[in-house]
């Protein structure tokens, strides 16, 4: 690289992360130096392949989420039809090594979650008694692990799914929400989604009480039609995706609702649709909340909601594409806002957004699972 990479402790990053606090300017989008007028597939492949081989030190604070970084990298390469860059067996073995295993069936009642660790930080071999007191299986890491395994074509029937599903029930709260870790953490819609996705991928719903989860989700629908991350919270692109995708995965809403009789739906579909459509801003990008700046990743979060509902066809694709190209980095990958440095997360969601736009050369996306259709369907 000619210029130095992005350092997380830079003060300008502080500014970048502070979304505007006052009303957005209604003017046209800023004119970048010279954004490429096309999706630069080869450069994104190079960016992700680089990450696959070695992630720069400034991601070390993301160590705890290593499996998530792996998911973005590997699934990203699959979206770009570049999975040949990945050693599938090596990936499968590596991912499987993060699984927490009980020593006996009896342990499944001890309250711990026998899913996948997110990293090696606190993964120790069992002690002399064969116990693993440090088990910190994490629901989001479990979602990522299973998604990666599906992407590399690993047969999920061969893993110990029973331990995952039985112990996952320990994580569900009385109000229907999920904690990601048995030792305690925040509970919100993100982890309801992870739980639903895990059950869906394992083709087994014994891991959760779907009815309770549904009730929690419905309690998260805001007065404006979107969903917040928890009841009472402001409606948010990520929360709305988690809500709608979960309901779809659990079977509570049909595919392409808008073509069917929406009035019988358990959620206020017309209001949700109107809210979602309003998230496309004058610069062509999607915002996560009303009166906030457009951000690359909401092209996926909101775009996927619209796709699930059957309303993706309504968006202004040309305007969206134009915005996304201003967030495309000359180094490969995508940034959150125009003309900033790319990061792995926004690079992944930039690619998913282009897949939703049906960019030639990209694999189609499974909106509900946030990965390729091929992986979701088990066709490798």
């Amino acid at each position: 690289m000619a210029t130095r990479g992005w350092y997380p402790t830079d003060s300008d990053v502080e500014e970048e992360d502070e979304d505007e606090t006052s009303s957005p300017s209604p003017s046209a989008l800023p004119s970048p130096s010279s954004p490429l007028p096309y999706f630069d597939r080869d450069r994104h492949v190079a960016f992700l392949e680089m990450m696959y081989n070695l992630i720069p030190h400034y991601y070390q604070s993301q160590e705890i989420n290593r499996l998530t970084l792996a998911f973005f990298t590997i699934s990203g390469l699959h979206l770009l039809q570049a999975l040949d860059r990945v050693d599938k067996d090596r990936v499968a073995n590596w991912v499987l090594s993060f699984q927490a295993h009980p020593q006996s069936k009896a342990e499944l009642k001890n309250g711990q979650f026998y899913g996948f660790h997110g990293s090696r930080t606190s993964q120790f071999p069992p002690d002399e008694n064969g116990l693993s007191p440090y088990n910190a299986g994490h629901l989001a890491s479990t979602y990522c692990a299973l998604a990666i395994l599906k992407t590399v074509g690993y047969n999920l029937l061969t893993i110990d799914k029973e331990s995952i599903l039985i112990s996952m029930r320990n994580l569900q709260q009385p109000d229907g929400s999920f904690m990601p870790l048995h030792v305690g953490a925040e509970t919100d819609l993100r982890f309801v989604y992870c739980a639903a996705a895990v059950c869906f991928m394992l083709e087994d719903w014994s891991g959760m009480d779907r009815e309770k989860a549904k009730e929690y989700i419905l309690n998260c629908q805001s007065y404006d039609g979107g969903f917040g991350l928890s009841p009472g919270s402001e409606s948010h692109g990520g929360g709305t995706y988690c809500a709608v995708a979960s309901l779809r995965l659990m079977g509570y809403i049909e595919d392409d609702l808008l073509s069917k009789n929406a009035s019988s739906s358990i959620i206020n579909v017309p209001l949700l649709l109107d809210w979602s459509m309003q998230r496309q801003a004058t610069d062509g990008g999607f915002q996560g909340r009303a009166n906030k700046a457009s951000d690359t990743c909401y092209a996926f979060w909101i775009g996927a909601v619209l796709r699930i509902l059957g309303g993706y066809k309504f968006i202004d694709k040309i305007a969206l594409r134009s915005f996304l190209l201003t967030c495309q980095s000359e180094f490969g990958g995508f940034s959150k806002y125009p003309e900033m440095q790319p990061d792995i997360y926004h690079s992944y969601y930039g690619c998913t957004a282009f897949s939703l736009l049906e960019e030639p050369g990209l694999n189609p996306l499974c909106a509900e699972l946030g990965m390729t259709d091929l992986a979701a369907l088990g066709i490798i």
Binding site: H57, Q60, I74, R190, E234, G238, P270
Partner: protein, 354 residues
């Protein structure tokens, strides 16, 4: 999934849980000086390296300082050493790795074993709050501490979130924490005033509108949505007329009639605000959209509405539809062209409501 996202979960989310990409910044850093391996205090501990396995994928190029901190952390974690030096080490590990929920969890165990003054812990969190205001683990830890302090901590929490929000009035975590504090510990009395103040500073702040809704529907001092409706409608209409291009008050206005659609359709104040904005002939997209919804729900418009809509149509060659709802859709197709396909679909689906 990152920051306000989950990784999703961000999340994200967005997706699932991703903490801030930044390393923690201490506003009053202790002089750390020598690396752990060279400090007498740690000479009896063998650091435990990370076992990355034979063929790791996405290896991270850890800096030496980071690696060392985490190697020592692993050692004391596995030994379950509940000592003051372990407690200090968790602080260092948190600085290096603020998203690491294992470290935060171990710190909580230490807080209990060592019987640390939890108000001191709040001070520690306060020191690092400003630079790390979007870190899920930090906020969760804070909630854990406050749960143990109970109502005595309430004022401090409301003060802290207010301070964070003064720097970033839309910080999702701060709002979430504030809502939790109000519900768990009370303090509702001044909340509506606080929303008012924030909206005076920025009428476009959707988070403040959301909080206003939260307060009027849940505050034990205010009597609930129906009781508050009239005064809130007045407030909201004023906000709309001041800035009709602001989406937030329009959504809020509709929200005031949640589960009472009939009342919403028949309340003359609602249709009147649409009419006023249309007649002003400026920033009328949301007014048209609301009129469309009213019509879909059975609103019977007077002639004034027809006139107002006609006045917004400037083409002579292409007359507007005689059906008012269809006419509104036509105009929206043109003036809100980003959503032209959506408005065309709304037109053909009439009278399907939003």
């Amino acid at each position: 999934m990152a920051n306000g996202h989950p990784s999703f979960l961000a999340l994200l989310f967005p997706p699932p849980a991703l903490g801030s990409y930044r390393t923690l910044k201490m506003e009053s850093d202790e002089p750390d000086g020598h690396s752990l391996s060279r400090r007498a205090e740690w000479c009896d501990v063998t650091p435990l390296p990370q076992d990355d396995g034979p063929n790791p994928v996405v290896p991270i190029a850890y800096k030496e300082e980071f690696r060392e901190t985490m190697d020592y952390f692993r050692a004391i974690y596995q030994a379950d050493e509940r000592s003051p030096r372990a407690f200090r080490l968790t602080r260092q590990a948190i600085v290096a790795n603020p998203g690491n929920y294992t470290v935060w969890h171990f710190r909580r165990l230490l807080l209990q074993t060592l019987n640390v003054d939890l108000y001191e812990e709040l001070d520690f969190l306060q020191q690092i709050a400003n630079s790390n205001s979007k870190n899920y683990q930090l906020w969760h830890h804070r909630r854990w501490v406050v749960e143990r302090l109970g109502i005595d901590a309430r004022a401090k929490e409301l003060q802290l979130t207010k301070k964070i929000l003064s720097l970033d009035a839309k910080n999702y975590h701060a709002w979430s924490h504030r809502q939790w504090v109000l519900q768990a510990l009370g303090g509702w009395e001044d909340e509506l005033d606080y929303c008012q103040q924030l909206l005076e500073e920025d009428i476009f702040n959707n988070s403040a509108w959301n909080q206003r809704y939260f307060v009027i529907t849940r505050s034990p001092f205010l009597g609930g949505l129906k009781a508050m409706r009239e005064s809130e409608v007045r407030y909201t209409v004023e906000a709309i007329l001041a800035k009709p291009e602001n989406e937030s008050p329009w959504r809020y206005l509709r929200g005031l009639y949640k589960d009472n659609i009939e009342v919403w359709v028949n309340d003359p104040q609602i249709s009147l605000v649409c009419l006023k904005v249309m007649n002003a002939k400026s920033n009328y997209v949301f007014a048209l959209s609301m009129l469309l919804d009213l019509l879909c729900h059975g609103f019977q418009p007077s002639e004034e509405f027809r006139d107002a809509v006609d006045a917004l149509w400037t083409s002579d060659n292409h007359p507007l539809d005689s059906d008012l709802a269809k006419a509104v859709c036509c105009i929206l197709e043109h003036v809100d062209s980003l959503r032209a396909s959506y408005w065309r679909w709304r037109k053909c689906k009439l009278p399907l409501a939003a």
